[in-house]
C-alpha cells in the first residue's frame, strides 16, 4: 500500500502568488495513496527539510513528492533529505509547479488546476518508482586541456600544480594564443609577452604536464571520468626530440616572403618557421604549402643546414590515444573578417588596419619594433582614427553581441599611440564606452583626459582616400552634426567571433553551442564553467568574448572543478541506466548504433550445447548515461530506463 508524502512549497511568493497552495494541498490529500499533503513557505530551508524528514519517519512514507521548482534546482537536495530519513533517494520525485506552472500563467484558478494535474501525475509515477542504488565508476585522474592560449595555460598549470596529470593540446606550433600577439595589456600596461612567456615555459617544463603542440583532437569517446581521446600529431617535418631550436634552418630557408600569420600580415616569415621568437616549444615547423621542396621536389636547404639531422621530409601524422578523466575546452576565438565592411576600406587601403594589427605595430617584438608606422609607406601617422564596434553590436552586418574587450583595447591603443607619437592626435568613434571592470573606467578616463584622445560619440559611415589622407566621415551625435576627419591611419575594433571550426569541434567532443558557435555553459549563472556534458569544462573566449582577467578566472574555476572530480578514486553515478528485454529484442542493432556512449553490445544467447539461439542487445550499466536514446529508437519496446520506466511514464501521462 502506497503511502506518499506530498510537500507543496510556496517558494515565497514565486508559486503561492499564482497557485492556491492550500487548495492544492487539500485536493492532493484526497488522491489515492497520499498519506501526507502539506504546504510550507520554503521547503528548501532547514526547517522545511527537517519537516520532510520528520514526515517520512513518522508516517513510514513509501514515496515523496516535492511540488516546487525545477528538478534541476533541488532534486539533489531533496533526494539527500530522503536518504537521510532512511528512504531510498530514488523514491523522491519533484513536481515542477514553478517553472512549468506559476511562472508561466496569470490565471490563479487555472494555474491551481494545472498544479494539481502536475502533482497527481508525479504521484502516479512515484508509486511505480523502484529503489535504485548508485553505480560506482573509476575516475582516470588525467586532464586534457584543449587550447594553449592563456586560459588553457592557466587551467593546465592549476591542475598540474595540484599534483594531477595534464595533457595540453595546442594546434598551432607554439603555445601562447592571442595573448602572445598583444603589446601591453590594460589596465596596467604590463607587457603581454613579459607576463605570458614565463608561464609558457613553466608549462613546457612542468613534470606533470605533457605538452602536445601542432596537434589536434581527432575524436572523443566515453564519459565523465573515462574519456577516450584520439590526438592527431600533425607532422612538423622537424623531429621534436632532437631539434635544439638553433634557428639555422630558418636563416637558410630561401622562401622568406610569406605573410606572417602571427604578425597579422604586417611581417614576413620563412617556410620553415616558428611563429615568434619566444615560441614554446622553440621547434620550427615546415609550412608544406609554401615549401619549395614540397612544391617541386627540390631544395632541402634547411635539411643541409641542420647539423643534427632533425629535419625529415617523410614525416607522417601520428595518432596518440589517451585515457582522460576530465576535459577543459579553451579553444579561444578569432577576430571577425572585416572584409564585409567595404565602407571602411579594409583590404583596399593598407593604412586601414584591425586592432590586432595595431597590437603588432605597438609591440616591441613586432615587425616595426614597437614603432607606430603606416603599413603603406612606413611613416609615422600624425592622426589616427579608431572606429569602435566595427562588427560588434551590429545586427545588420556584424554580430549582435558586445565583444567586451574593444572599448578597453581601443583606449589602450590611443594611450600607447600618445606615448609613442607625442605630437600625434587620436580620435575615437564609439557607441558607448563599456569599461566595467577593476580599474577600467579610470583607464579610459586617463586616455581621454591625460592623453588627449578625442572621443566622438557616433558611427562612421565611410572612409575614402583623398590627397593621400584617409577621410573618415561620421556623425557626432552629441553635437548633432556630421564630421569628417582626415587621418593617416584608421584602426577598426573588429568583433570577437568563435573559431571558424567551433561548431564542428563541438560536435566532435559532444558539447552544446549557441547561435554564434560559442560553447554553452550548463547554467549561465549557477554553472558557468561546466559545459552541457558532464566532465567537460569551459575556459576563456570559446564560451563568450572575454578579456585576460576573465579568461584566467574561468580557467582557474574549471581547474578547481577538475580537481574536485579527481579528489575521489571513484565517481558515484546516477543509476538511471537502460536495460533490455532479451525475450523480445529483435536484434536489429539500431540501439547499438544510436547509443552515443557505445554502451550497448551484442550478447549471444546459447543453448545447452553452446549453439547460438539468438543474439540480443545488452546494456553495459558502467557505460550507460541514461540518455534514453535507445529507448525511443527501439521499435519493439524492448529497452527500458530505470527511473523513467515505460510504466512510470505511462502512469504519469494517464494521471493527466
Amino acid at each position: 500500500m502506497a503511502k506518499i508524502g506530498v510537500f507543496i512549497c510556496h517558494c515565497g511568493e514565486n508559486i503561492a502568488s499564482k497557485v492556491d497552495c492550500t487548495k492544492l494541498a487539500a485536493a492532493i490529500g484526497e488522491h489515492p495513496g497520499v498519506a501526507v499533503s502539506v504546504e510550507y513557505k520554503y521547503f528548501c530551508s532547514e526547517p522545511g527539510q527537517e519537516s520532510v524528514k520528520k514526515a517520512i519517519r513518522d508516517n513510514n512514507l513509501t514515496g515523496v513528492i516535492i511540488a516546487a521548482c525545477s528538478p534541476r534546482m533541488h532534486e539533489a537536495t531533496f533526494r539527500k533529505v530522503c536518504a537521510e530519513a532512511g528512504l531510498n533517494p530514488y523514491l523522491c520525485e519533484i513536481a515542477n509547479i514553478r517553472e512549468q506552472c506559476s511562472w508561466v500563467h496569470t490565471d490563479k484558478d487555472m494555474a491551481t488546476e494545472k498544479a494539481m494535474d502536475i502533482t497527481r501525475s508525479m504521484i502516479e509515477k512515484v508509486k511505480r518508482n523502484n529503489k535504485l542504488q548508485p553505480i560506482e565508476v573509476p575516475v582516470t585522474r588525467r586532464a586534457l586541456v584543449i587550447g594553449g592560449g592563456v586560459a588553457g595555460i592557466q587551467a593546465a598549470l592549476d591542475i598540474a600544480n595540484a599534483g594531477q596529470e595534464v595533457v595540453l593540446v595546442e594546434r598551432e606550433p607554439s603555445l601562447g594564443g592571442h595573448m602572445s600577439q598583444l603589446s601591453e595589456t590594460f589596465p596596467t600596461l604590463d607587457c603581454s609577452q613579459c607576463i605570458l612567456t614565463p608561464r609558457m615555459v613553466e608549462v613546457a617544463q612542468h613534470p606533470k604536464i605533457r605538452l602536445l603542440t601542432y596537434a589536434e583532437v581527432e575524436h572523443v569517446d566515453g564519459f565523465i571520468g573515462n574519456f577516450k581521446v584520439k590526438i592527431r600529431m600533425k607532422s612538423r617535418y622537424v623531429n621534436r626530440d632532437v631539434c635544439t631550436g638553433c634557428g639555422d634552418c630558418m636563416v637558410k630557408c630561401p622562401v622568406k616572403k610569406i605573410s606572417s600569420e602571427f604578425d597579422c600580415g604586417l611581417g614576413k616569415r620563412t617556410a620553415i618557421y616558428t611563429p615568434f621568437a619566444q615560441s614554446v616549444p622553440n621547434i620550427p615547423v615546415i609550412d608544406k604549402a609554401s615549401c619549395i621542396y614540397f612544391k617541386n621536389g627540390k631544395c632541402k636547404t634547411c635539411m643541409k643546414s641542420c647539423q643534427i639531422n632533425a629535419i625529415n621530409f617523410d614525416m607522417q601524422d601520428e595518432f596518440i590515444d589517451l585515457e582522460i578523466g576530465a576535459i577543459v575546452v579553451a579553444t579561444g576565438f578569432q577576430i571577425q573578417n572585416t572584409a564585409g565592411y567595404g565602407e571602411y576600406g579594409y583590404g583596399k587601403y593598407p593604412d586601414v588596419i584591425t586592432g590586432l594589427q595595431f597590437e603588432r605595430l605597438a609591440t616591441a617584438s613586432g615587425p616595426t619594433s614597437g614603432k607606430i608606422l603606416r603599413p603603406s609607406d612606413g611613416k609615422e601617422p600624425e592622426t589616427v582614427v579608431f572606429i569602435q564596434c566595427a562588427g560588434s553590436r551590429d545586427p545588420s552586418k556584424g554580430v549582435r553581441y558586445c565583444s567586451k574587450i574593444c572599448c578597453m583595447y581601443t583606449a589602450k591603443h590611443a594611450m600607447l599611440y600618445a606615448h609613442k607619437v607625442h605630437h600625434g592626435k587620436s580620435h575615437v568613434f564609439y557607441m558607448d564606452i563599456r569599461a566595467a571592470g577593476k580599474g577600467y573606467d579610470e583607464f579610459t578616463r586617463r586616455t581621454i583626459e591625460e592623453d588627449d584622445a578625442s572621443y566622438v560619440r557616433g558611427r562612421v559611415s565611410k572612409v575614402w582616400l583623398e590627397n593621400g589622407k584617409l577621410m573618415v566621415r561620421g556623425v557626432d551625435t552629441l553635437l548633432g552634426r556630421p564630421v569628417t576627419i582626415p587621418a593617416d591611419m584608421v584602426v577598426l575594433a573588429t568583433a570577437m567571433v568563435p573559431q571558424p571550426n567551433a561548431i564542428e569541434f563541438a560536435k566532435t567532443i559532444g558539447i552544446a553551442y549557441d547561435e554564434y558557435g560559442y560553447y554553452n555553459e550548463a547554467h549561465l549563472k549557477l554553472r558557468p564553467v561546466e559545459s552541457s556534458s558532464a566532465g567537460i569544462f569551459l575556459a576563456g573566449a570559446c564560451q563568450s568574448p572575454k578579456d585576460i582577467p576573465d579568461s584566467i578566472a574561468q580557467a582557474s574555476a574549471s581547474a578547481s572543478k577538475v580537481l574536485a572530480l579527481f579528489s575521489k578514486e571513484t565517481l558515484e553515478r546516477e543509476p538511471v541506466v537502460a536495460s533490455t528485454n532479451e525475450a523480445t529484442c529483435a536484434g536489429c542493432w539500431g540501439c547499438v548504433l544510436a547509443c552515443p556512449y557505445n554502451a550497448i553490445e551484442q550478447k549471444d544467447i546459447l543453448d545447452r550445447s553452446g549453439r547460438i539461439i539468438k543474439s540480443v542487445a545488452s546494456v553495459n550499466p558502467g557505460l550507460c548515461q541514461g540518455c534514453g536514446t535507445c529507448v525511443t529508437f527501439c521499435r519493439s519496446n524492448s529497452i527500458d530506463l530505470a527511473g523513467f520506466t515505460e510504466k512510470q511514464i505511462f502512469a504519469e501521462m494517464m494521471a493527466l
Partner: protein
C-alpha cells in the same frame, strides 16, 4: 512466357544440385490476375511457378520466417527492385545472412517481364543507386499532391475519415517485410501504449506508430496497401515519409546490405534544425 519457362528449369536445376533448399516465388492465385506465394521444394512445385507482370507482392518478408535460414542452407527468391531493397534492409538490420540468399531479380514494363542481372544482393547496389538518382516517372502518387495542398485540419480530417475504417486486423503488419519484431509494440500491454480497439484514437495511434517505424525503411513495395481489407491508402503515408527522409538526410532505404538505419545513425552534416 519464355522467362517463366527459363526460370522453371533454373529452379529445378538449383534444387537438383542442392544449391538451394527452397525457392520462393509465385503461383496462380484465386483469379486470373492474382498471384499467391509459392514455396518450391520439389520439381512438381516448380512446375506451378508463374512469372508475369501480375507478380507484384514483395516476398522478402518470408525470408525472416523463424527457423527458415537457421540451418545455414540457401534459399532463392523472386524479387522486384523494391524487394531487393527490403532484402538489403533485412540484412543491414541483421535479420538474415545475405550470403544465404540467391536473388532472381525481375521487373516489368507493361505486361513484359525482364530479368535483372545478378544473384547476390551486393551485385544490385549500382542498379539501386540508379533508381535513387532517376526515380521512375509513375512513382509519385497524384493523391500526395492533393494532400500537400491541404491545411493541417483538412489533412487530419482526411486521415480521420480513412482510419475510421481500420479494423485493427494488422494485415499491413503481417504483409510488411519490415515488421519482423518478435513482439510488436502494439502487443505489449505493460503498459498498453497503443489502444487495441478500433476506435479513432487507437487507429491513429497504430497507424502513426507504424509510419514512424517505417521512416527510412519503407521501400514502397505496396504490400500493406494491397493487403488492407478496408482500402486505407497506406502507401501515401509511407511514400511521404520516404520523401522526407530522402530530403532531410539523403537516405534512400535499402541501398546496400550495410546501410545504417537513418534514425539511429548520426552524421556531422545532418541538419539540426529541430534541435534547440
Amino acid at each position: 512466357m519464355i522467362t517463366q519457362e527459363k526460370y522453371r528449369s533454373k529452379v529445378k536445376k538449383l534444387l537438383a544440385d542442392g544449391s538451394v533448399k527452397m525457392v520462393i516465388g509465385y503461383s496462380p492465385g484465386s483469379t486470373a490476375d492474382r498471384r499467391r506465394p509459392l514455396f518450391i521444394r520439389s520439381f512438381e512445385e516448380a512446375d506451378q511457378l508463374v512469372l508475369d507482370s501480375n507478380c507484384i507482392a514483395n516476398l522478402s518478408g518470408y525470408l525472416v520466417t523463424e527457423g527458415l535460414l537457421s540451418d545455414e542452407k540457401r534459399v532463392a527468391i523472386f524479387l522486384r527492385p523494391e524487394g531487393i531493397r527490403s532484402l538489403n534492409i533485412l540484412a543491414a538490420e541483421s535479420q538474415l545472412n545475405v550470403d544465404q540468399i540467391i536473388i532472381f531479380g525481375f521487373d516489368s514494363i507493361g505486361r513484359e517481364v525482364n530479368s535483372l542481372p545478378g544473384e547476390h544482393a551486393d551485385e544490385f547496389s549500382e542498379f539501386i543507386g540508379s533508381i535513387k538518382e532517376n526515380p521512375p516517372e509513375k512513382s509519385r502518387e497524384p493523391l500526395l499532391y492533393q494532400l500537400e495542398q491541404m491545411n493541417p485540419q483538412e489533412r487530419f480530417a482526411f486521415w480521420k475519415e480513412e482510419f475510421s475504417r481500420c479494423i485493427k486486423c494488422y494485415a499491413c503488419r503481417q504483409s510488411c517485410p519490415m515488421c519482423y519484431c518478435r513482439r510488436c509494440v502494439v502487443d505489449s500491454n505493460q503498459p498498453q501504449w497503443v489502444n487495441t480497439s478500433s476506435h479513432t484514437l487507437g487507429n491513429f495511434e497504430w497507424n502513426i506508430v507504424r509510419a514512424f517505424h517505417l521512416a527510412g525503411r519503407c521501400v514502397g513495395c505496396g504490400n500493406c496497401d494491397r493487403s488492407c481489407p478496408v482500402n486505407i491508402p497506406l502507401r501515401l503515408i509511407n511514400a511521404k515519409m520516404s520523401e522526407e527522409v530522402l530530403g532531410s538526410f539523403n537516405h534512400f532505404a535499402g541501398m546496400s546490405t550495410t546501410q545504417e538505419p537513418v534514425l539511429a545513425s548520426f552524421k556531422k552534416e545532418d541538419s539540426e534544425t529541430f534541435i534547440l
